[in-house]
């Protein structure tokens, strides 16, 4: 373990710069995804055919294609066909933001549909208007029940950000590869990287499970 710490400490500035890029990618994907996903889920409730179905179809299509294929497709052939060059950072961040948007949309859509009918009907028979029912009853109940899954999907975005390294984005995984190429100590380098993800993702996943349990109770 001390060897791992030695390597991490020795290359701390490189690791920090990688972490900063990872966090920037995640910030774009998290904020964009949460904002876009909530917006689409809400729009889909009011206009299911116009908004809900097309995004559901897009969601199913992106679920079927591996993320690496999507990323490479956006980075190489698409840009070549369009005759443009986009910084791989933006390509990665945009793809993850889109995937996160679709994930948040899916989670919220299911949560909104999962609100027990009797709770909505109880509000209706109490004379509450439809819009108020949605904002004060359906959405808060759905959002609470979706919190666990939303947290899990944000953790997944952090993990998926390492794919950016494969198209030369200088995030944590790419930085680790470079360090390993320089000193060739893969055990220490990749153990350090694994421990970082373990330290961040494990508590978040436990938190997500806790939220899911609380809502179920």
């Amino acid at each position: 373990m001390s060897k791992v710490i030695d390597v991490v400490w020795e290359f701390r500035y490189a690791y920090l710069s990688g972490l900063l890029v990872t966090l920037k990618i995640c910030a774009v994907a998290w904020l964009g995804g949460l904002f876009g996903g909530v917006l689409i889920a809400l729009s889909a409730e009011w206009r299911p055919r116009l908004v809900g179905w097309p995004f559901l179809l897009l969601s199913r299509m992106t679920e079927a294609i591996p993320i690496l294929v999507l990323l490479f497709w956006l980075h190489y052939p698409t840009q070549a066909a369009l005759g443009i060059v986009i910084d791989p950072f933006y390509t990665t961040a945009a793809l993850l933001a889109v995937l996160n948007t679709l994930a948040v949309f899916g989670v919220l859509r299911n949560a909104l549909r999962g609100v027990p009918t009797e709770m909505i009907e109880a509000a209706r028979v109490c004379g509450v208007r439809r819009t108020r029912i949605f904002w004060r009853i359906q959405f808060p109940i759905a959002f609470r029940s979706a919190l666990g899954s939303l947290t899990s999907s944000q953790v997944q975005i952090l993990q998926l950000s390492i794919f950016g390294g494969l198209i030369s984005v200088g995030e944590l995984f790419r930085v680790s590869q470079r360090i390993n190429a320089q000193i060739y100590r893969p055990v220490e380098v990749y153990t350090g990287l694994g421990l970082f993800f373990l330290a961040v993702c494990l508590p978040l996943n436990i938190f997500a499970k806790h939220l899911e349990k609380r809502v179920r109770a």
Partner: protein, 231 residues
């Protein structure tokens, strides 16, 4: 103020079912359901589990469509399609109120918020929140969320939510199922005072003792509804 359309005269039915046929999964579970309930009537609805009590109450609450027949409230025909329109819904609810077996309490709100949430839309209740909660013995759980209350307390909270809105027609689905006999009798007495003010209650129950205390008893048997007793 009660809209003119809802001002009933004595003896005129507030709730009517005309030749209702109710289907579930393509099977007819109730047919030829016809009755009229006048103001001041506390009617019990009895029948074995799965006989269609909940389905009938849901149709009468305009939440489900019948396969045939009509539901009339205040001598006007209504259907789920008509009350889907906000203006029609505002004319019907909460003058018609329904407490389902699952209660439908909102889990993210406290019991107090559950009771007062829909009050803002309507006129001052005839009975105060404090008085009603004291009668139903739920005062001490008002600031708890439904999840931390017992089933019996939740049932009384759901009933209080409906009563606070001062409905004219109240449909209750097994709302005393989790209460002991003494508490159920107190609830029944409270409901009797509600009908004495001119309301109508149709309550499904498995409890023969409570059913006996109603002034009318309907029983569902083999897909038919018949009036067994009236006073």
């Amino acid at each position: 103020m009660t809209p003119a359309v809802f001002q009933e005269s004595a003896g005129e039915p507030l709730l009517q079912a005309e030749d209702l046929r109710i289907e579930k999964g393509g099977n007819t579970i109730l047919s030829d359901v016809t009755f009229r309930i006048e103001s001041g009537t506390f009617a019990a609805l009895a029948g074995p589990s799965g006989s269609g009590k909940t389905s009938l109450l849901r149709v009468l609450a305009l939440l489900d469509d019948p396969a045939a027949g009509a539901v009339k409230l205040w001598q006007r025909e209504f259907s789920p399609a008509t009350v889907a329109q906000p203006a029609a819904a505002a004319r019907v609810y909460p003058r018609l109120n329904y407490v389902p077996q699952m209660l439908g309490l909102w889990p993210h709100l406290t019991i107090r918020e559950n009771l007062t949430f829909s009050l803002s839309n309507h006129s001052q209740p005839r009975i105060s929140l404090e008085e009603l909660c004291a009668q139903l013995d739920i005062t001490r759980i008002l600031d708890r969320r439904p999840g931390s209350a017992s089933q019996g307390q939740r049932q009384r909270a759901a009933l209080a939510r409906a009563l606070l809105l001062d409905p004219q027609v109240l449909l209750l689905d097994e709302v005393t199922a989790a209460l002991d006999r003494a508490l159920a009798a107190i609830v029944w007495t409270l409901l009797q005072s509600f009908v004495e003010r001119g309301g109508v209650i149709l309550a499904s129950t498995h409890d023969a003792y409570l059913a006996e205390r109603c002034n009318r008893l309907y029983r569902i048997s083999e897909g038919c509804l018949r009036m067994e007793r009236t006073q």
